[in-house]
Symmetry: D3
Subunit: 235 residues, 6 copies
Amino acid sequence: MSEVAGRMSIQVGAASLQKASGGFGVLLGGVPGVPPAKVVILGGGVSGTHAAEMAVGLRADVTVVDRSVDRLRELSSMFGSSLRTEYSTTATIERLVRDADLVIGAVLVAGAAAPKLVTRAMVKTMKRGAVLVDISIDQGGCFETSHPTTHAEPTFLVDGVIHYCVANMPGAVPRTSALALTNATLPYVRALADLGWQAAFRRDPGLAAGLNVHAGQITHEVVAKALGLSAHPLR
Amino acid sequence: MSEVAGRMSIQVGAASLQKASGGFGVLLGGVPGVPPAKVVILGGGVSGTHAAEMAVGLRADVTVVDRSVDRLRELSSMFGSSLRTEYSTTATIERLVRDADLVIGAVLVAGAAAPKLVTRAMVKTMKRGAVLVDISIDQGGCFETSHPTTHAEPTFLVDGVIHYCVANMPGAVPRTSALALTNATLPYVRALADLGWQAAFRRDPGLAAGLNVHAGQITHEVVAKALGLSAHPLR
Amino acid sequence: MSEVAGRMSIQVGAASLQKASGGFGVLLGGVPGVPPAKVVILGGGVSGTHAAEMAVGLRADVTVVDRSVDRLRELSSMFGSSLRTEYSTTATIERLVRDADLVIGAVLVAGAAAPKLVTRAMVKTMKRGAVLVDISIDQGGCFETSHPTTHAEPTFLVDGVIHYCVANMPGAVPRTSALALTNATLPYVRALADLGWQAAFRRDPGLAAGLNVHAGQITHEVVAKALGLSAHPLR
Amino acid sequence: MSEVAGRMSIQVGAASLQKASGGFGVLLGGVPGVPPAKVVILGGGVSGTHAAEMAVGLRADVTVVDRSVDRLRELSSMFGSSLRTEYSTTATIERLVRDADLVIGAVLVAGAAAPKLVTRAMVKTMKRGAVLVDISIDQGGCFETSHPTTHAEPTFLVDGVIHYCVANMPGAVPRTSALALTNATLPYVRALADLGWQAAFRRDPGLAAGLNVHAGQITHEVVAKALGLSAHPLR
Amino acid sequence: MSEVAGRMSIQVGAASLQKASGGFGVLLGGVPGVPPAKVVILGGGVSGTHAAEMAVGLRADVTVVDRSVDRLRELSSMFGSSLRTEYSTTATIERLVRDADLVIGAVLVAGAAAPKLVTRAMVKTMKRGAVLVDISIDQGGCFETSHPTTHAEPTFLVDGVIHYCVANMPGAVPRTSALALTNATLPYVRALADLGWQAAFRRDPGLAAGLNVHAGQITHEVVAKALGLSAHPLR
Amino acid sequence: MSEVAGRMSIQVGAASLQKASGGFGVLLGGVPGVPPAKVVILGGGVSGTHAAEMAVGLRADVTVVDRSVDRLRELSSMFGSSLRTEYSTTATIERLVRDADLVIGAVLVAGAAAPKLVTRAMVKTMKRGAVLVDISIDQGGCFETSHPTTHAEPTFLVDGVIHYCVANMPGAVPRTSALALTNATLPYVRALADLGWQAAFRRDPGLAAGLNVHAGQITHEVVAKALGLSAHPLR
């Protein structure tokens, strides 16, 4: 689902930048002789990488920010001279966000709340009509000004900056999402059906690690911690 | 402006394919393991080429149709194995349109009405929720079922197929469009300002050829013909 | 050797599609204005990936099928919009094989018999003159209709479909294959020569894992299982 | 047809390099760690460019030779660092042919006999098992040692070098060729059918220039000259 | 020679940016996580395009400025998302030069003095240690602060900005330059040798147009105008 | 730092090949119609890969040599047909070095002395004016003829071959290097500051492995071995 959300984020961002949507009125890729829009992607994981692929594909001026130099190296090798990578510090994010036309928040930490990388103060420095898309909204969002929205009313304004924070982005493209989900879960479903859950868990610790609740107790440590409860991992 | 319209056509097409817009609910580029949407671009001129660049950039499955083999050769050399080219015949268009998720009408004939390449009968064979974007709408449109719409209400349905036929597409991204227009016209404006219109016309037949009306009479032959009037070219 | 076989599979497939070889008479990459041939590659491992590189290089319309979504993700990132990836299910293979001009069987399971992914019934649905190349033939083949052939008589017909099932494909390009083999084995040869086999095995479990028979007994578990015998691993 | 022949030349060249065909036994693209075969393409026109696209696609080590620096510039810009271009002189051709695994003769001069760029003496310096493919054979061939062959017996040996000189190469892929031919000729057929030949010739000098014989006399100057006759152009 | 100069300009620019040369101390392409240097190329003709190829190849952040939208379109199609194009106005140049690490002046007007696109005032706004390379220096230079230098002492400082203005740049790579020159002139030399100059001039107006002086009089109009003399074209 | 050194090696190599630096006088990428320079990169690790990216970017004719086939496979997949990979043997290095214009020594073995891959005898076979750049010089160098130099006097000649052996290459681009170093070390600095060194070492064995000396004793085994001392690893 991270892939679907990552790819969609650029196309909803492009649509939100149109004048009729209240946006700044720029075309993501510009045209020859007219500079492209500046896209900043916070997080170079699965979502961020798929967002980058689409933004580069639309010929935008793209920068990916991540706090792992190793990941930036991989991205640099994948994309060559068609995107820039910068190491994530508060100063870097401040500078990039101020000039951006479109910022994609793609910071996902497994099971935990997303860090608030873009503060309310930073949003104030942005251009009127710029666009923020928060893919991390299901985990609380990575912009301080984010709150969840729906496909019916996907955006709201803070300081003139458009926020797109739909909680279930992949729901907009159900045919693609359903297939992607089936592909990703089919091996697990087969294992559960063939072996029963206990044997399947024993054989595949990755599957076992996906268990959040068992017999009325939270089994997943990160989830428990986020809720202020104690975990009871399955043995 | 053809460049802006061509590039925009893919992003509005992608947005229209989302479920909330009434579309088929597919992501243009699919995701790994899930096939991409099929995009058919009618016309490989400036608009069509820019549409192709964006569609390929979003990882769609793209076919461009044109009736010039020379142009298909150029496109094939530009895009390599990332798009297919097919020679334009009625049979080819019927086959491609039937399976398409998104069809871009990019057939522009200078000053003349666009040919109706996609008939009402062909539209009937399409999938419910598929999308047509008619860039040629300013010249009457190249789908038989097209009629002009506005940015306020950009789409309508015929046989369950979404039609996007906004008459002034570049108006959605005014900052990009205004700059593009300035770049394109600045040399002419300079010539007119420096030399006066008569001298400027004498020096640049291309500029002179842009004159449509002079002293109450139509000077441009194609325009005159389209209106059923006779032309009075400037001498 | 998997690399050599993978790369060769496309060039023998292209040759078999020529009319003089009894094939369908299509050029793998088509030409501008004429659609390319459809190539389906079953398996995205080393062989399949090298086959895909060559097929994309010849401008064919390529789909790779694999049952690991992770592997499809890597392929998608490597090839961008120039190939499609689909998750492996029986329904997917049926649909793709029916329309294919060339199918490459590149499903290798270490030491075990290859699964029969394409059944006799699926072959019946294919076009007369289409081509199957079975790289997995050394492990029994992944088409139900395969049986081993030689470079002297490399192909046979089943239901009008050309089968290329040469058991030792790399033998056709001995200069390339000999060098590739030397490169791959030189480190092991050096270790065996320098240390003697016992010490070399202790230092490198990967080398030790390559032992199939020792002192008259089968030491490799997968091989033993495939033959219905019990394994006696070296300690 | 030049496109079909150009693309096919690489795939028949690759097949001829296989041991079973008597070739040198190398894989065109090598594999990682093993150098690729050296391909030299004489002529950077339509045929040569399509041959280059395929050879680069198969990962060979490709050099294109042409006597137009402008054309080399275009090729360099199209292919970047994946092929080399050299200006055509006898010394250059001697040096390149001596080291080549595969030489493609793609020198076509409209209506005239092809120049003999590779002499018998140069062929003597080549490796046993190297391959020459002469696309220019329909115009006499550009290797001194060429003579036309057929799809039934496509190759012969001179000094241990394999010559592939099939006179009608596109005949091997009739489905692709027939479509390509239809696409290329359809506009002329339509013009002839709609207007009659006299009017069609008047409107399109390019079409008129294709006339070789009329009322028992040769009308095409180059053809007449090649045959030692005098031309009677249509007025 | 424009090609050699264009390609060399980036490598001398990169060397001048090193600390030991007095430069700003940045690596043209940065490294993953560290932004690349900003390169601005004034002029998108032959020199500028070759400079752009090298700068993009070194992973710099490249913008090309030209006053022909058509040329910008071609560059955009060649380079995709790996460079930006901007239409040339004084305001654009001011903005870009102020932020640049390396500016390449590649504005060549056949036979005429190059326009002074970068004024002394603009140089004052640049960073200390930034670098200007003036390929147009043989025609007077396109920076107001330029004056010709030699390979022995190639650079000088104005307002802390390094100027590289070697009058005969290709002289630094004589093997490459001599071959390039031979390739470019060989066809003319052959024509002059075979036909004599009068006949060669009649057959090839392009060659004739290269004549600057004949029988003690200037024959080339642009040259004459630049020197304030009147031209006596050959008839 | 390996990245900075790898990228810089190509730009200093290109500068050293210029005539004024005493070099062979060739442009790394040649120009269309003139062959590019031959660049051989010994070692396909981080430095070597970044060197390869720059050399390919400048359109040189690049071969990377490594003794890991797996690494060559990855490089082949990253670079496609724009570079060649060869397996490292003495015979291969001899052959490649003899013909090379520029050789980059990028063989780094963690903490140990670099192996002398290019012997004095091989240097004797090279062209006068060819260039060697030894990135491994900080670890003793991988050319037998290397000795450390400084940015003030970066090169020396052996048998007419230019040696560039600056011990601290990244020092030439301090702005880029300082940022790269900060990015790479920031996570460790944070850990040390937050946790104290004992706790930080316990949590991150990679950080602990970086300790060379503690309480007057060498703790790093490879360093100790290189100095002929015994190691006292921290427990």
